[in-house]
């Protein structure tokens, strides 16, 4: 069969051709101790004066992203979805110095501003995809590029997705030009219960990963429940091989993390001999102290309910369930726990735990007052997230659920920005926020519409009318079709 999709469907399932699975099969089974903590580190009390505490670096691979220059720009006479639920027909958006300046019915152009007539066009915030593997599973999807699952142990909280990101992935450019995606979270895969840290990127090509990093975005911890971890490790004849094994290994790890956090909190407050460092435990400590957000791959309603209790048991919060194909069955529980669901529009039936997927999932969550949003998990789907929301709207309306187009845009930008902890910076056209803006050549909920211009931090980085504003990654340079419309 032709291979196109390489999201969860292929990566997680297809034992014949999924690129990551091939990696899993050939990967040596390495015995990695479960984030081992040194035996309990207590020392006899001494009269010595304690050394002052030294905090380990929280941001050792800091963002070097810099916004590219842009002209003050006024788009007027367009339909505006401001991303916070407001629609302005015949409206205007003004941005300058990389920030949104104003949104309104009519705005005056400052001297020297570029003025764009938006007649028949729509302006929206740039799309934020909370679930992507671009860079970690880049194109071409050859074995040498399979960098998204450290599937050698079920707990790999020590790995960071950013250390796998290949900034030359042609997928970044497609997501920008065809998809209007301006921000995305790159997650480790779902082979492991704790797959490692995620990273949030601005969708701007750079020579280094650091130069794509979204300044100040919190880290995430990718967790996974259900079929993938138990299949991957069960097939290696080791724990976990069942759903109860999944939870057991998670709990054992959280219990250690709680102890690690206690030791390090004490040391960083009081000083003395530093406890032994454990890179994976650093991440879990960050989760327990609320600095790192849990992004939890999970399909089934009953499993999500167990995970919510586990989070309570150890004192952390699940920021969002990803895929959450059965979230519609527990909309009330998700609402009560303040946990979001990041979902596809209509994927279903590709594995047992996706068997009950329905096209109304997102709409039912939204109607129930739960936090919900769209996501891609796919280098093709990320190019059409606006269309995925359009499909949800269609399913919803035919089921009698009324949601306005303007309100639905929250599922594409402000919702995911909030679940990434970057809603103060991006996700809506609020004055002062980053000017991450898309001009669409029609209604973005129509199949006949495409991005015409995309700005990131006010810099015009894609223009359908200007071939020079079309990114070509190093990999594609000089290859057949280099610089073509894609």
């Amino acid at each position: 069969m032709i291979r196109v999709a390489t999201g969860e469907k292929k990566r997680g399932i297809d034992m014949n051709s999924g690129r990551a699975i091939r990696a899993l099969l050939s990967a040596a089974i390495v015995a990695v101790p479960l984030a081992g903590c040194a035996a309990d580190g207590k020392k006899p009390a001494t009269a010595e004066k304690k050394a002052p505490p030294v905090r380990y670096a929280r941001d050792p691979y800091p963002s070097t992203y810099r916004a590219y220059p842009g002209a003050p720009t006024l788009v007027r006479n367009a339909t505006v979805f401001d991303g916070e639920g407001r629609r302005i027909d015949g409206g205007a958006v003004l941005f300058a110095d990389g920030k949104v300046v104003a949104v309104g019915q009519t705005l005056d152009a400052p001297a020297g501003a570029t003025v764009i007539d938006g007649q028949g066009k729509f302006v929206t915030p740039g799309i934020v995809d909370i679930h992507s593997h671009l860079g970690d599973y880049p194109s071409p999807g050859v074995q040498a590029h399979s960098d998204g699952n450290e599937a050698t142990a079920p707990i790999t909280a020590d790995v960071w997705a950013e250390h796998s990101v290949w900034p030359q992935d042609p997928g970044f450019g497609r997501a920008l030009a065809n998809g209007g995606v301006t921000t995305l979270q790159i997650l480790p895969g779902s082979a492991n219960l704790m797959g490692g840290r995620s990273v949030v990127l601005k969708n701007v090509y750079a020579r280094t990963m650091q130069a794509m990093k979204f300044p100040g975005a919190p880290y995430g911890l990718k967790m996974a429940c259900g079929e993938n971890p138990k299949r991957v490790y069960g097939s290696k004849n080791r724990e976990p091989s069942t759903r109860m094994g999944n939870v057991a290994v998670d709990r054992q790890t959280w219990a250690k993390a709680v102890a690690y956090k206690r030791k390090w909190d004490k040391y960083e407050k009081e000083g003395g001999d530093p406890p032994e460092r454990d890179i994976g435990m650093d991440t879990l400590r960050g989760v327990l102290s609320g600095e790192i957000l849990v992004q939890n791959h999970c399909y089934r309603a009953d499993e999500m309910a167990i995970v919510l209790d586990m989070a309570k048991e150890f004192g952390y919060k699940v920021t969002a369930f990803h895929h959450a194909v059965e979230a519609y069955k527990i909309a009330d529980l998700l609402k009560a726990s303040g946990t979001c669901a990041a979902v596809w529009a209509d994927w279903y039936g590709f594995k047992m735990e996706s068997y009950d997927g329905i096209g109304e999932n997102l709409a039912i969550l939204d109607r129930s007052g739960a936090c919900a949003m769209i996501h891609s998990d796919d280098e093709n789907g990320i190019q059409r997230l606006n269309q995925e929301v359009a499909k949800v709207l269609s399913s919803a309306r035919h089921a009698g659920i009324q949601i306005s187009d303007a309100a639905a845009w929250k599922w594409l930008s402000l919702g995911p920005a909030t679940a990434l902890g970057i809603d103060a910076q991006t996700g809506s056209l609020k004055p002062g926020k980053m000017a991450d803006v898309v001009l669409w050549n029609g209604n973005p909920f129509s199949v006949y519409t495409r991005p015409e211009k995309v700005w990131v931090d006010g810099a015009l980085l894609y223009d359908a009318n200007d071939p020079k504003r079309r990114p070509v990654s190093d990999f594609e340079l000089g290859q057949p079709g280099s610089g073509d419309v894609k």
Binding site: M1, I330, Q383
Partner: protein, 431 residues
Amino acid sequence: MTRALFLLATMLATPAAAQTVAITGGTVAIGDGSAPIEGGTVVIANGRIVAAGRGVAVPAGAQIVDATGKWVSPGVVSAITDLSLVDADGVQESNDAGARNSPFKAGIDVSLGVNPAAVKVANERLGGVTRALVAPNAGGSIFAGQGAVIDLGADPDAVTRPRAFQYVELGEEGGKLAGGSRPAAHALLRDAFAQAQDYRRNPAAFDGRSRDALVLRADADALLRVIDGQVPLLVHVERAADIRNVLALTRDYPKLKLVLVGATEGWLVAKEIATARVPVIAAALADLPANFENLAATESNVGRMRAAGVPVALASTGASGGDHVLRQFAGNLVAIARIPGATGLDWGQALASITSAPAEAIGMGGEIGSLRTGRRADVVLWDGDPLELSSVPVATWIDGQPQPMRSRQSELRDRYLTSTEGALPKAYERR
């Protein structure tokens, strides 16, 4: 639920079989590449299209379906799918798409794996899909086996044409399956063809039953039909060089009826494909260099091949949301026609790429895929433009039979529109 569906279909079938239906007043899209016709009429009788278009007379006694404000089109034909072969792809026990460990290769007849009661069939029917080109997955050989054409009707009789085509891998995947290289895949193909011809010349002397025979008798039978041009040979390749090598096969096997599947780089060799009169079933929106064989991938591939005169149908590959997303794919090809430098399709061509074009690619355009007179009456009444994301089918006929408009997905939706339990557990809530 399955039995209930079949009962319903049976009840509907008896009176409806002879019933003449006239769908009037809608925007009629024939599916043959022509532009939609406002205020058209579609007449169905005896399971076939009697007429469709403007000024079509409504026969006396016909059941009238008012389509004012709606659209009428042929049902979508899903090309290259495992629909009806699997319940859930990743659940091996439920998956009859591939047979990696079977000694049989080209001889595998996928129609025997078709399950009309698989829940996806009804789900996808509700998305406007009425027929499918069901293909096996290649597993143990470059030859996947013989594909079938099915309908998605709510009845037990799903197979329209068994053994409708042979499917073979000759690109990167083919190389892998053949032992490591494309040349090995071509050597394997030619040797299998040669053995099939040996079998024809002297069946008694043919070693088609021993454990280590590369070609078994069933395989040889299937391959002879390919060599003789009785069934099309669908060849999955992507890169331009591979496409040229496939087109060259007809020098040695002049009767081959080739169909290219995939052909991401087809636009680079569009003239050659057109000259060879070979149709293509392409992934509409494959625009990434997913592998080294897709380097020139662009969403303009379909439009550029079509502009060069190649008949192109869309493949449902990559449709994780189900086969119904084909119409989204088609709509996108209309969208890119407005992008400077891109080549898309006009609306009529786009609809044809998911209706008549897949049917014609395997020589069944006279039977399915359009509303032209005499075709099987696979008709969908939509509440809007069938390629637009906001539209859904409001009525569907397959072989002229009205279809139930519910599926397991609608049952789940209705049970959980409100997530909390009522007086009894959710397990007691059903229609």
